[in-house]
């Protein structure tokens, strides 16, 4: 992907995430306490929109911008999906951020998110040096 386009898409994504407040620890906390539907409605309507788009792409064999056939990466289901998923879920509840919102919290001036970011880099590094020893 062209780096200029990628930056523009990132900016749009950052604006949307921030205006939706999905980068807010308070919204994430309310989601896990089931006290408001906000996050569920956003994630749910995002999935439905993505799924409709995917069906359209398949049905009309839409090509990518460089005229290639669109290939969907198959995501493997293994022990890591569950174990890693649970670990991430705990981190999500603690920080109020998943990977995208970490960058948004930083941009929005919540500077403690820089520490979340540092932790996430350490975590990704720990995974890459230990992956051969983890159950898969």
């Amino acid at each position: 992907m062209k780096l200029f386009n990628s930056t523009i898409f990132g900016i749009l994504f950052g604006i949307i995430l921030t205006k939706a407040e999905v980068i807010s620890w308070f919204r994430i906390n309310n989601m896990f306490h089931f006290t408001e539907a906000h996050m569920y409605l956003i994630i749910g309507s995002a999935i439905i929109t993505g799924a409709i788009s995917y069906v359209i792409i398949k049905k009309f064999s839409v090509k990518s911008i460089d005229k290639q056939e669109i290939v969907i990466e198959k995501k493997e289901l293994n022990k890591g999906t569950v174990i890693g998923g649970i670990l991430f879920g705990i981190g999500w509840a603690i920080t109020g951020a998943c990977p995208g919102p970490i960058f948004a919290q930083i941009g929005a001036g919540e500077y403690p998110a820089l520490i979340t970011f540092a932790g996430a880099l350490v975590g990704a590094y720990l995974y890459s040096i230990s992956k051969s020893k983890l159950p898969d």
């Binding site: 950052g14 604006i15 896990f32 999935i47 929109t49 998923g85 879920g89 941009g107 996430a120």
Partner: protein, 157 residues
Amino acid sequence: MDNIFSIWPWYVTGPLIGLFVPLILIAGNKLFGISSSLLHICSIVLGKGKLRGYNSDNHKWKLYFVIGISIGAFISVNFLTTGKVKFLPEFYYSLNGFILLFTGGVLIGFGTRYANGCTSGHSISGISTFQLSGIIATLAFFTGGLLYTYIIYPMFN
């Protein structure tokens, strides 16, 4: 349009977020996901070739995308919002808060790489392309979140 400065409703933002699936598929022929950028930044911090088995050449766009996210958030709070919005509780502006955030960050980095995806890659891209792993991963994310909310957090407070 008079609401542009307040919070945008879910029925606008949810579908807009979902549109990033076809956008990234068409513009880059890639399944949209963000957590892989963490590994890419790691490889940059460590220096080229230091992260075993990682080829950084195809992933440069992800770095630009996440830098874009920060810029977008900056624009949002400074030019598209009236008044101040808090996204983190006051507690996180303390030493104990920093320790907790760092721990949470490690869990995010390790967990999303081990699971091969996060909310964007698994929950949104995975489920919307009808992949079972996306549903299982999303259930695991919520299991972890509920575990912290109802068991781990109350144990320490």
